[in-house]
Symmetry: C2
Subunit: 333 residues, 2 copies
Amino acid sequence: MSELRQNLVTKEWYVIATGRARRPDDFVRRKPRPHLPRRSSRCPFCAGNESLTPPEVGRVPADGRWQVRVVPNKFSAFSAEGRAERHVDGLYRWANGVGVHEVIVETPRHDLIPAQMSLEQLRLIMRMCQERFASALEDPRVSLVILFKNYGEAAGTSLLHPHSQLMATPLVPTHISYRVEEARRYYDEVGRCVFCDTLSIEAGEKERVVWENDGFLVFSPYACGAPYEVWIMPKRHTSCFSMTTQAELDSLAEALFVVHRKMHALLGDPDFNYVLRVTPKDERYGHAFHWYIKYMPRLAKQAGFELGTGMYVNTTLPEDNAKYLREVKVPVS
Amino acid sequence: MSELRQNLVTKEWYVIATGRARRPDDFVRRKPRPHLPRRSSRCPFCAGNESLTPPEVGRVPADGRWQVRVVPNKFSAFSAEGRAERHVDGLYRWANGVGVHEVIVETPRHDLIPAQMSLEQLRLIMRMCQERFASALEDPRVSLVILFKNYGEAAGTSLLHPHSQLMATPLVPTHISYRVEEARRYYDEVGRCVFCDTLSIEAGEKERVVWENDGFLVFSPYACGAPYEVWIMPKRHTSCFSMTTQAELDSLAEALFVVHRKMHALLGDPDFNYVLRVTPKDERYGHAFHWYIKYMPRLAKQAGFELGTGMYVNTTLPEDNAKYLREVKVPVS
């Protein structure tokens, strides 16, 4: 019999249906990725092609050859110009699409896959992400900033050059406000952060822990929808990514370094998304929310049941996934 | 500049970003589907292979050659046996995976695509769907029944034989309870069903109407996330699919007949999902909710932004989509 599990943090239910048991091997990509050149003359994100992008808004190092570069998205979903306006006309409600949409070009090299990124490079990326995150928060029109990475076609990108994205919206989507509300309800009831409680249970039981360092716990959530999904969560209560210290950013880079490599070794360079789960800007000084990264290999497709119920069927057991991932040894150099 | 639109029914926000204007042709499948035989000897849903499925739970006609057949899903996500039990142990919450999971085999033929289904066949399917829906509601362990169809690989199915599915869950997922709550709030505020109000606006403005008959309005929702998404909504206030009359089911079959053919003509046999949006069983006699079918061609992929915010970026304008779909003429025979 399958089991339904409720995530304590989001109150969402997931179906854990392991009847057709899926081992890691069942998910390994059948076709390897195409061979890529170190540099592509037509790629706007390759070193040497800087003129193909809008003017850069961030880079490290400040002078000379860049290692990480940030540019506005040429096909931005949100406009950098214009006012944040909400309109209500009878039953219509709309808002101007103002906000921020940037691309973080993670390396000058065209061909690096996530599992090949150096620890040093990931540190630079995380620092740059935080810098741009903080900058977006300063925009008075912005209500929410999110950061994410799409890797591979199943994850919704056809762009090959290593990159992640930052988007800032002028309002708070229901998906976010519902979970913030749940976190606040928990806090009101027991006086503690639901994420801190989750961390302490997971760290204590160890069964779903994949890896940890001083700053971060990587674990398979008890209730989650994607096979091999992991959460990368700061151990210190931090409501907003902007409040993470430089030392913690280095710890985060290390966690990502390890997760990328473990996923690669176990699942064969899977397509994945990661998203930074955050609280809306106005609530970033609250006690109830705690930021984290949700890292999801895209091994299963969303079909009618998921679209109709918002409930995901996970054909793997989080405890097994954690064990498999834990057993892949990745030296942190 | 893009526009953010809020759906009145769900309160969800969508980004309508038509900067890179996408015409219907941009979405047409590049490769045609593989040629299928009328009958496949290994397909458990083909006529003649009935012994390959679990014992049938429904069929029409009752005797002789069946036209529509319903069988329990061999790889069921929910178990037909067992008790509905909820468990709370400290911070863990789980439930037994009991419920219903059936496959509606829509025709004995292996090779029919949705746009080739006859009106008569669609009538039989809709009647059978309602019969099974009502039967699932009678199960005391069931809290919610949903019906959906996955067509094509992008819609999450690799099964080629025409089929749809019915699933019944022992609890109400948050995704459903949130939208029921919103509908109830609207009803409490203005004393009317938010869906009935939406119907009356759409029917009055006509701009987003795709098609209609006596029983149903087909329209592109003002705020929606999938290119060419349409809602098929009963004109009479009906909270639950089980309360739809036989005449209305025939109207619904006609609406589906037309929608399948319009999508096929405009977008070239696109992969799609449709899901029946319903209220939980315990609330099916309420005044606030109104069932409908959400029909979504799967033309875009869900990436990090959607996963992180629950907010979809639609690269098409619902008003344009309605116009294109309206202009495809489909004779109802």
